[in-house]
């Protein structure tokens, strides 16, 4: 394995940590299960690609545009969640994923299956981040930024409102949490952060194709959140690292990646529904028992 190859793997790990964390805001915090998160990755990636390739705009402009536009589209696509709940919402988010991919495929502006190519490497303050360690640093910074947003949210009233909605939407309304506003808010933030990850994804690969953002990718992201520990900060990070590295470490898994994801999902649901490192999970209980003084003060870990 060359060092370039390893750096590439970890760049993807960093991007997927951001994605899993952003999905966790919607699904883990606010309790809105989404099987369409790859659509937001795609919208961010295509926004950046279009602005960079067709209009020659600099990286920071198309990156910010990806965040903002994906955030806005996420907010709009969140509207159905006001009318449908639970299993129907899952189906609706799936539908959104298929529609978005079709738009990339069949609207000429996006060049269909040929995709958008020759996306330039980003330049920030005269520095060009062309692959390798510099780009890994960039994606790692973004992952940390996403983590900071999640941490901040878990400390605010909005975070508490998300928890309330996840627990019992009607009861939340009856204490004054207007669930509509906060659900839309969760969709917006979650999508915006995924859009930023999409921008980094597009600039890293240098090209985007509709097939990069299909439905199975959404399942992969949800698997990361659930596998690691839904609703926690550590869970999605561990999930993203584990599920991205496994297929690389054991090459023979590569072709069966989604079989592995599916199998893991079933096993987790059966034996550890809160995830590998979720609250009440064996591993988490075990490790906190080893380090009694090391209890962090995150909201979800109140004993």
């Amino acid at each position: 394995m060359s060092s370039g190859y390893i750096v590439t793997i970890f760049t993807f790990v960093a991007i997927y940590i951001s994605l899993a964390l952003s999905l966790n805001i919607l699904t883990g915090y606010a309790g809105q299960i989404s099987l369409g998160h790859a659509a937001f990755l795609g919208i961010g990636a295509y926004t950046s690609a279009v602005l960079a390739v067709r209009y020659g705009l600099p990286f920071w402009v198309d990156f910010l545009a990806a965040v903002v536009i994906t955030g806005i589209i996420g907010t709009i696509l969140g509207l159905p969640s006001l009318r449908v709940r639970h299993d129907f919402l899952v189906l609706a988010t799936m539908g959104v994923n298929f529609v978005v991919v079709s738009v990339f495929k069949y609207v000429d502006f996006f060049r269909g299956a040929m995709g958008l190519v020759n996306i330039p490497a980003p330049t920030i303050l005269g520095l060009t981040f062309r692959g390798g360690a510099p780009y890994l640093t960039l994606t790692a910074i973004y992952a940390l930024l996403t983590l900071a947003v999640c941490w901040y949210l878990s400390k605010t009233w909005s975070g508490l409102a998300f928890h309330a909605i996840r627990n019992d939407e009607d009861a939340a309304a009856s204490v004054g949490v207007g669930s509509a506003r906060y659900k839309i808010y969760a969709f917006g933030i979650s999508a915006a952060l995924a859009g930023g990850a999409g921008s980094l994804y597009a600039h890293f690969l240098g090209s985007v194709f509709p097939d990069n953002f299909v439905f199975v990718e959404s399942i992969g992201m949800l698997s990361m959140v659930i596998f690691g520990g839904i609703g926690t900060l550590r869970g999605p990070i561990i999930g993203a690292i584990f599920l991205r590295l496994m297929p690389e470490l054991f090459r023979f898994i590569q072709d069966y990646r989604f079989t592995l994801y599916g199998a893991l999902l079933v096993l987790m649901m059966l034996f550890q529904p809160m995830g590998l490192l979720g609250k009440d999970s064996w591993l988490w209980k075990f490790s906190t028992r080893l380090l009694p003084g090391n209890r962090t003060s995150m909201r979800e870990e109140i004993p």
Binding site: H163, R166, D168, A171, S174, V175, G176, V177
Partner: protein
């Protein structure tokens, strides 16, 4: 302060409330008594805004709120203790209470937290505990405490005695009576007429979606229809 006129509520084709009239005066504790399936819970869910009436008007402190959503009614001074408590199960006792004051400012939050912890010292002791680990009685107290956090003008209470041991039922009703000191009017729906009639100023009897009786507790206790149906003859 609360007045309800001709309230009709239906689930699809089936009408559950057939034109219910009701009012609560400032400072009153009013009960709506009725057997299982009489429409009590439907009534209270419509009052808080979880269900929409097909006909009729609800006004509160002179304002029509028939078509407002639940959280907007809470902002206008209503609060509910739902059937079964409906706590935020994964959250701590204190977070449940804090959420109860979601629309209040920081000062009110602190004040009310003090009020609730004085009412229920056990909740103060269990502040950090996740609410689903509380006992049934404690959960019911937390539900009442959470509702009181918004400093409500009108408290709606749905079947608070359900599933509690008799001794706890008496205790909970005592607490409800004490709530009057906090300038809150109370409307409670109850199956346990015997205990409820001890603490209320006035009561309605709801039967098959119709209000069939209204009166003072002592009048109702004597009424043969109430005796037969709710007080064991």
């Amino acid at each position: 302060m609360l007045s309800v006129e001709n309230l009709h509520v239906r689930y699809g084709q089936i009408e559950v409330l057939h034109g219910v009239p009701l009012h609560v005066q400032e400072g009153e504790i009013v009960a709506v008594l009725g057997a299982n399936g009489a429409g009590k819970s439907t009534l209270i869910k419509t009052l808080i805004g979880w269900l929409e009436p097909s006909e009729g008007e609800i006004s509160f402190q002179g304002e029509r709120l028939t078509h407002l959503s639940a959280w907007e009614r809470v902002r206008r001074g209503m609060a509910i203790v739902p059937e079964g408590g409906r706590l935020f199960r994964d959250l701590s006792v204190e977070d449940n209470l804090r959420l109860g004051a979601f629309l209040q400012d920081e000062n009110t939050l602190k004040e009310q937290l003090e009020v609730v912890y004085t009412l229920f010292p056990i909740l103060a002791e269990r502040r950090k505990q996740v609410s689903k680990t509380l006992s049934g009685g404690e959960q019911q107290m937390l539900a009442i405490g959470r509702a009181m956090m918004s400093k409500p003008r009108l408290l709606l209470i749905d079947e608070v005695s359900m599933g509690l041991m008799p001794i706890l039922v008496r205790r909970v009703f005592q607490v409800i009576r004490e709530l009057r000191e906090h300038h809150v009017s109370i409307l409670l729906v109850e199956q346990n007429a015997f205990e409820a009639l001890k603490i209320v100023n006035r009561a309605y009897v709801l039967e098959n979606g119709h209000i069939i009786l209204e009166g003072q507790p002592d009048e109702l206790e004597k009424d043969p229809r109430v005796k037969a149906a709710y007080l064991g003859g």
